[in-house]
Symmetry: C2
């Protein structure tokens, strides 16, 4: 808690589809020394920007005085364009999506294991179906990417009794990962997985990481879930794996082009569910809390939380 009003006055621009809600929440928080710009004003003298990367990018050339940008999203790809300025602190949203992503992953894994859709078809025919369903317990899940979201998915997978493999650049900082893989270990990581979940950000190293070679290591009962970035997937290879039954299905939340265009083969590929980038809905109360926490650090000239490394891309 800051009890004294700081000397510096700060000016905040909010660029979000939920700008009105964020403005109301921040007014209510009554943050010391903070002036919040009005709607649809683009103040050339704001020092802080809070919002969605895709809405911030087009006006970056006008935001010359901004020295801190807080993204409301985890993914900040639009702001990583090398043509844009990088002489400011970019922070992304962390710590709020892990639980939601875990719910998403578990929800679709259970849809698959408990054969919920097949059973609903039976119900339409008033057909009592006592066949055994599967369980998450004892299955092996592989997480491509074990950052703050991946660690939470790992913790959830462990709760349900799964064996958890993690593929990361280098870090090994989750106690819920049974086995880590790096670099050349990618194919070994994928071999025999029941579930493959991509949570990687969009970087040069992650592009098309889910390709024909990797998919060929999955057994035919495997389910692939993509909640990372669409660029991680070689589309033609995934569609072929789905069409030939080389894997059992896919749940795709993210795509190279969003919204996914009408007529795209993913819409109608066999055993494929398209979830329209909805895996981790942004709840403004939690997002606002992260901004406020970082604003207090900013006023005190302390290092901000969740800083993005422009080179690494996350």
């Amino acid at each position: 808690m800051l009890n004294s009003t700081p000397l510096t006055k700060h000016k905040l621009l909010i660029l979000s589809r939920l700008a009105d809600e964020y403005r109301a929440r921040l007014r209510e928080a009554n943050l010391p020394g903070l002036e919040i710009a009005e709607r649809d004003v683009l103040p050339s003298d704001c020092d802080i920007v809070f919002g969605e990367p895709v809405l911030i990018k087009p006006v970056m050339s006008d935001l010359l005085t901004a020295n801190w940008i807080q993204s409301t999203f985890a993914g900040v790809d639009p702001l990583l364009d090398p043509a844009l300025r990088r002489d400011y602190v970019l922070t992304n949203m962390r710590g709020v999506f892990g639980g939601l992503m875990s719910e998403f992953v578990v929800g679709y894994l259970l849809l698959h294991e408990r054969k919920i859709l097949q059973r609903l078809e039976g119900q339409k025919k008033q057909q009592w179906d006592a066949t055994l369903t599967g369980t998450l317990h004892g299955k092996t899940i592989g997480l491509l990417g074990v950052g703050s979201i991946g660690r939470e998915v790992a913790r959830t997978a462990k709760f349900f009794g799964m064996t958890v493999r993690g593929y990361t650049r280098a870090s090994e900082n989750s106690e819920h990962i049974d086995q880590y893989f790096h670099g050349e270990g990618l194919l070994e990581f994928a071999s025999g997985l029941d579930y493959l979940v991509n949570i990687l950000p969009n970087t040069n190293a992650t592009r098309k990481i889910v390709n024909a070679e990797l998919l060929s290591r999955l057994p035919s009962h495997a389910l692939f879930i993509n909640v990372g970035r669409g660029s991680a997937v070689e589309q033609s290879a995934l569609i072929q794996a789905l069409e030939t039954g080389a894997i059992a299905g896919a749940v795709l939340d993210v795509f190279e082009v969003e919204p996914l265009p009408a007529g795209h083969p993913f819409w109608s590929a066999p055993n494929t569910i398209v979830t329209s980038h909805s895996s981790a809905p942004s709840f403004p109360a939690e997002i606002t809390k992260v901004f406020i926490e970082n604003y207090r650090l900013y006023v005190e000239q302390q290092p901000l939380k969740y800083q993005v490394d422009f080179e690494k891309g996350y």
Copy 2:
């Protein structure tokens, strides 16, 4: 581990749809002093019976020498018929269904919160749907019955950040229940719940406990899940609540008459999912482990685990 062969010889009858599998598993376990009766033989001199209550009940009058019956199911209602003998130890299956029931409950809660079915309808029209979905986090779940299964469901609900209420006869032995209710507290227990889950066994005290009065305490967005027994529900009241939209939906795994007869209104009630008593599939490996554990106690003349109280009914 028993290392010496006991003097007594025991004779086991298996009455299960999975009898061949159980026989093979028990032969492999090579239990000391145990003779396993052949398939389709009804030995009048067996002292142990292992199987499904519904298959054991019709032959109870021939099982005069049985002094221990181990059920492969949690629910043992057929054997509680007062016309049947009770001069033996009846043990039911516990400790193996909690995780599976929890998966079932979470799977259908997420189907509901994440609007999975509505989104699939959108996908058929190739419709990008970025509307916000709900979350389990912060919701309030009420568990009717907090035995070994209920405690595991409570632990899972807590993992996902829910507030957990428990309604029990008297016991308060789960650290994952935020608030306990008993007896007359039933309506207060139900008031304002987001999710109501029945896990109660079939007893005189639980019959028609989910009636019009209780359902009237639920908000219109509430989901009801029944994984206990069908007798706990007043059918006409539940159907009315579903047809009038007084509650948002129901997931029904158990029914007064099973299989649920064709033409029964539950098959086609609005927002109702019928899951054909599949919530906790019996995995023979785990069931067999419980039998073996109890057999070792039986041979040593120790008290068996999971004994059923014929009066209480569980």
